[in-house]
């Protein structure tokens, strides 16, 4: 298996195949990152495309001083922040808009020709679980959701988060702790109701 750096070099020389391999390697991570942050498939798909377009346009700037994934997720983080800002500006960030986006999603988009068919029951239970998690996450503020994503799912340290978001590390810690407490309360409430 070719290393990221080799694929980047080939892609920069004009190899469409190398670029495709690189994208396929990371698209699932970027898509799920987007799904958790944006809360619906339509926006997540848009964000993923924006991220890879940004990566492609800036590929010649990648110097290999950090891991390719670190560099790529920095772009992903910035694109997510931009998209959230745009969404807020256009007042689309409400539950109804999210529901509409879910409803408007083309079911044909869910077909994945690249992968073998999965057990339908497993797919259903997986989506329900993800849907629950997304419901909990969407109860958080944008900043809290972003920090949970970076800490829990991307396993960043607080110092890395502080640098990425240009905030003091202590602010990142407090924000994360508050978010975690809120999530715990929500999960407990749901558990009590069921």
């Amino acid at each position: 298996m070719k290393q990221d750096e080799a694929l980047i070099g080939d892609a920069l020389s004009g190899s469409a195949r190398a670029w495709e391999v690189l994208v396929k390697r990371y698209e699932t991570r970027v898509y799920n990152f987007s799904l958790r942050l944006m809360g619906n498939q339509t926006d997540a798909f848009d964000l993923m495309q924006e991220v890879f377009l940004g990566v492609f346009r800036n590929l010649h700037r990648f110097r290999g001083e950090s891991l390719f994934t670190t560099w790529m997720f920095r772009i992903a983080h910035n694109k997510a922040v931009d998209m959230n800002r745009r969404r807020r500006l256009f007042n689309e960030h409400d539950l109804y808009a999210q529901q509409d986006a879910e409803d408007d999603a083309d079911p044909l988009d869910q077909l994945t020709a690249d992968l073998p068919l999965q057990d339908p029951a497993a797919v259903l239970s997986e989506q329900r679980s993800n849907r629950d998690i997304n419901r909990f996450l969407s109860a958080l503020s944008w900043d809290q959701r972003l920090i949970v994503e970076l800490k829990v799912f991307q396993s960043h340290t607080f110092d890395e988060i502080a640098e990425l978001q240009d905030i003091p590390a202590n602010t990142a810690k407090t924000r994360f702790y508050t978010a975690l407490k809120k999530l715990k309360d929500l999960m407990e409430q749901e558990h009590d109701m069921s």
């Binding site: 892609a11 920069l12 020389s13 004009g14 190899s15 469409a16 670029w19 495709e20 994208v23 396929k24 698209e27 699932t28 991570r29 898509y31 799920n32 799904l35 958790r36 498939q41 798909f45 993923m48 495309q49 890879f52 377009l53 492609f56 346009r57 590929l59 010649h60 988009d109 869910q110 077909l111 994945t112 020709a113 690249d114 992968l115 997986e126 989506q127 679980s129 993800n130 998690i133 909990f136 949970v148 800490k151 829990v152 799912f153 396993s155 340290t157 607080f158 810690k173 407090t174 994360f176 702790y177 975690l180 999530l183 715990k184 999960m187």
Partner: protein
């Protein structure tokens, strides 16, 4: 029961790259503080629940940008001097040319590029140009008014026919009284149309005079600029 160290402890404990010494200090506190123990347990459980997220598969999409798909064409990743800046650059140059009043003329000495206004333009020439422009504007205005009047008349005729049909169908027969009412209604409508027409004409005229005034101001400015050089 609470503990002022809880937030610090949990956030530090969940940090992946804690040194052995740091971890042992935290664990020492955890052995002594039931509240922190409970809170840490809850935080870890919350994290664990979040991590049950199952990666969803990516919908089908075109992964390769078009610029990579064109065969034989050397790929160029957009840089600062990429083509996307060309329209902006052209706009800038044109704006600069307008602001500095650049003139390019072909004389017997070849192409001559001059900056600034032409001091040779006399006031009489400017006034003549203005008068011509004003005349053209008036002609256009009259044409537009004629078109507007024709359209208004056509629309009113159609409305009148519709009204007569509606009245006839409602009463079955045209009595002299209903005809009088219809005529009175027509007269009233005509008066209203005339008022609408007058106000439209006034708006049109105002807008044209405003344009003329703007052009006059521009001409005065150009003249002033030319005179000051």
């Amino acid at each position: 029961m609470t503990c002022h160290k809880t937030e610090f402890l949990i956030t530090e404990y969940l940090e992946a790259d804690l040194s052995g010494r740091q971890r042992s200090i935290l664990e020492q506190h955890l052995r002594e503080c039931a509240y922190c123990r409970q809170e840490l347990g809850a935080a870890q459980q919350t994290q664990a629940q979040l991590r049950t997220w199952q990666d969803e598969t990516v919908p089908h999409w075109n992964r390769v940008p078009e610029s990579l798909l064109k065969p034989g064409k050397p790929r160029r990743i957009s840089g600062f001097f990429g083509w996307q800046w060309a329209p902006l650059a052209v706009s800038f140059v044109l704006a600069l040319a307008v602001l500095t009043n650049v003139r390019i003329s072909n004389t017997s000495d070849g192409l001559v590029v001059a900056f600034g206004g032409d001091a040779g333009v006399s006031e009489a020439v400017l006034l003549e140009q203005m008068a011509r422009f004003e005349g053209q504007q008036r002609l256009q205005q009259e044409e537009r008014m004629q078109t507007l009047t024709v359209r208004m008349e056509q629309r009113q005729d159609a409305a009148n026919v519709q009204l007569i049909e509606s009245v006839v169908s409602q009463f079955g027969e045209t009595t002299s009284r209903s005809l009088e009412q219809v005529i009175a209604y027509f007269e009233e409508q005509r008066q209203q149309d005339l008022q609408v027409l007058q106000s439209s004409y006034q708006q049109l005229a105002d807008s044209d005079y405003q344009t003329i005034r703007s052009v006059q101001q521009l001409a005065t400015y150009v003249q002033y600029q030319a005179g000051s050089r």
